[in-house]
């Protein structure tokens, strides 16, 4: 491997020996093609003509009346597939094709990354397998059906709690046995080097656009940029453009589940300890012996006991801060936001919006905030209705 893939003490590539040649191959292909003119041209065309980039930065006026300060939404929910995941899937999928690979595999939690990979697999004519925990298959069934319609095979992973962690384990196992013709299209800014760097790279247009759009619309940089953090790909995508603007506060919002005082949450940076999982040294939710804990969160896309190593570094250096909101607050905000803005937000992204609701009366009214609306909430309708049956709703 040419690089260690470290973010301070975090990151690295802690994987069984058998995967090292594959990671090296991806690292060197990424180095070769990231600035290759033909590759960039093809990717940019796909971004604009196929996925729908650039996405708007939208001043959410009615929601801003609720919070008491202006909130601008980075509308990644408008992308093809309904979430930011398509950025990375197109980038890595194209890279896989340039490498001459014919098969894609991916893990998925909420199904958004699986869906994005299935889309890219169909678009590029590659055989695609998606690994998804059995719990997530049940709770994100619409996405499972979409993936199958797009021609991908969805494999329901038994074991553990049947969520994202288990899907990643199984995808790694499958990759180990099929490493020669298969590209593992990793979905989040975690995992072994070079994935955290690759995923940040392909998600960085979110931040670059948002920074430029904010300057155009408001004449200045935002005071706060906020995004939800599970593995952290949408957050690192938008944070990356503001890292050198020290006056911009970066706030990552984790899944507080039933509360941080319980074990039913996935607030890895808020409550975790440093350890090693899925190839990276990073914060983890684990017991005193180092066994990885089961997590619980209303949002499948955040339901993961680890986090991308660059976020661990940003926390450690103080450049970004990480907070959490609980399921109930997320549901309240989901209904409120849907009715004030006419947008159904993904439950993942709603975490960032819920944190903004908490800041009412705390942040001064001239504060400019950008929230990454990383995905749309159509996929979450069943979950929302299950938790808050129509009759019981006060809003």
């Amino acid at each position: 491997m040419k690089h260690k893939g470290r973010f301070g003490p975090f990151g690295g590539y802690y994987v069984p020996e058998v995967l090292i040649p594959a990671l090296e191959e991806i690292e060197s292909a990424f180095e070769q093609f990231r600035n290759d003119r033909r590759f960039l041209q093809e990717l940019n065309t796909l971004f604009t003509d196929y996925a729908g980039r650039p996405t708007p930065l939208y001043h959410a006026r009615r929601f801003s009346e609720v919070t008491g300060f202006p909130v601008y939404l980075k509308r990644e929910d408008l992308l093809h597939g309904g979430a930011h995941k398509i950025n990375n899937a197109l980038g890595q999928g194209l890279l896989a094709r340039y490498m001459g690979k014919s098969k894609l595999i991916a893990e998925t939690g909420a199904g958004q990354h699986g869906l994005a990979t299935a889309i890219v697999g169909a678009l590029l004519g590659m055989e695609t397998k998606i690994f998804m925990g059995f719990t997530d298959v049940a709770r994100q069934n619409v996405n499972v059906r979409k993936m199958r319609l797009l021609g991908a095979e969805v494999i329901a992973v038994e074991g553990g709690t049947g969520t994202l962690k288990d899907a990643i384990n199984e995808a790694f196992r499958y990759w180990t046995a099929h490493v020669e013709d298969t590209f593992y299209l990793f979905g989040t800014a975690g995992g072994p080097h070079p994935y955290p760097t690759i995923v940040r790279h392909f998600q960085s247009p979110i931040g670059q656009e948002a920074r430029r759009q904010c300057l155009e619309k408001t004449g200045r940089l935002p005071d706060i940029v906020t995004a939800c953090v599970g593995g952290g790909s949408n957050a690192i995508g938008i944070f990356s453009a503001f890292l050198d603007d020290p006056q911009v506060r970066l706030v990552g919002v984790e899944g507080g589940g039933k509360g941080l005082q319980t074990t039913q949450h996935c607030a890895t940076l808020c409550r975790g300890r440093v350890g090693i999982l899925h190839g990276a040294r990073t914060y983890l939710l684990q017991d005193e012996n180092g066994q990885i804990r089961d997590t619980e969160c209303i949002s499948a896309g955040l339901d993961y006991p680890g986090v991308g190593p660059e976020h661990a570094h940003l926390k450690e250096t103080g450049r970004a801060e990480y907070v959490s909101v609980e399921d109930e607050e997320v549901l309240d905000t989901f209904f409120l936001f849907s009715k004030t803005e006419g947008i159904l937000p993904a439950l993942e992204s709603t975490h960032a919006l819920a944190w903004l609701c908490q800041q009412k009366g705390i942040l001064p009214p001239e504060t400019i905030v950008i929230a990454n609306l990383s995905g749309r909430g159509d996929k979450d309708i069943d979950i929302v209705e299950h938790h808050r049956p129509l009759a019981s709703r006060s809003l």
Partner: protein, 273 residues
Amino acid sequence: MNAYQACFSKLDRAALIPFFVIGDPSYDVSAELVKAAIDAGADILELGIPFSDPVADGPTIQKADLRALKAGMTPARAIEFIREITAYKPIPIGLLVYYNLLVQYGVNRFFEDFKQAGGTSVLVADLSIDDADEIIPSARRVGLETVFMATPNTPDGRLRFISEKTTGFIYAVSLLGTTGERAALSQTVRPFLSRLKRLTDKPICVGFGISSPEHAFEVAQAGADGVIIGSRIVKFIEENPENPARIKENITRFIRDVLDKLPPQSPKSRPSS
């Protein structure tokens, strides 16, 4: 001469190395089964501490990890377990562990405790040779041997590097894949073994997918110094969860069958590292 060299040099055949997950299905039954394997003629033991997310393992060992964890196995109890086994009979013990368990226990402290319990070597499943120096000084300090995996897709230069860092034996993975039984031995084993033997004079033990006395014979015939059998042995536990006597009987018979099948080899006197 380390414990492995002593073992290989006195054998006139390949060493038989059964693998167990410590504490599967419970501390007591597991100890009984490991002792039965020693009594049946195992030369070396490969023992794993159960981990919640064993990415290098196939379904059989994943289930074993879960059984052991459910029965309360922890790294600290695993050390106790090893102490009990080495007190029963001195036998070289290689430990297979996932890195997070070491990191949480403290690498130095864990190695001290493991060595003190009679352990011989450590193999960290998810620590590649590139980061081996995170553990090697601690291992050397207490006199533990280091074992690293080599796989059929590992290039020559890297195999030499692995050989340099290895003081115990090279764990040659027979195939591209996770642990687990296979109907046939992988086609890659023979060419891989001959490539390895050209590049190293360290002992080579072969594991992953070795599921029958016939497989063991083939691997030994191809020149392996040791044969590691994991999933097939662990499967005996899965097949008879409520019947320890039956498991013991099956494991004993299987080990004897493998020993009967292993072809004679001239004893190895390996240069010490």
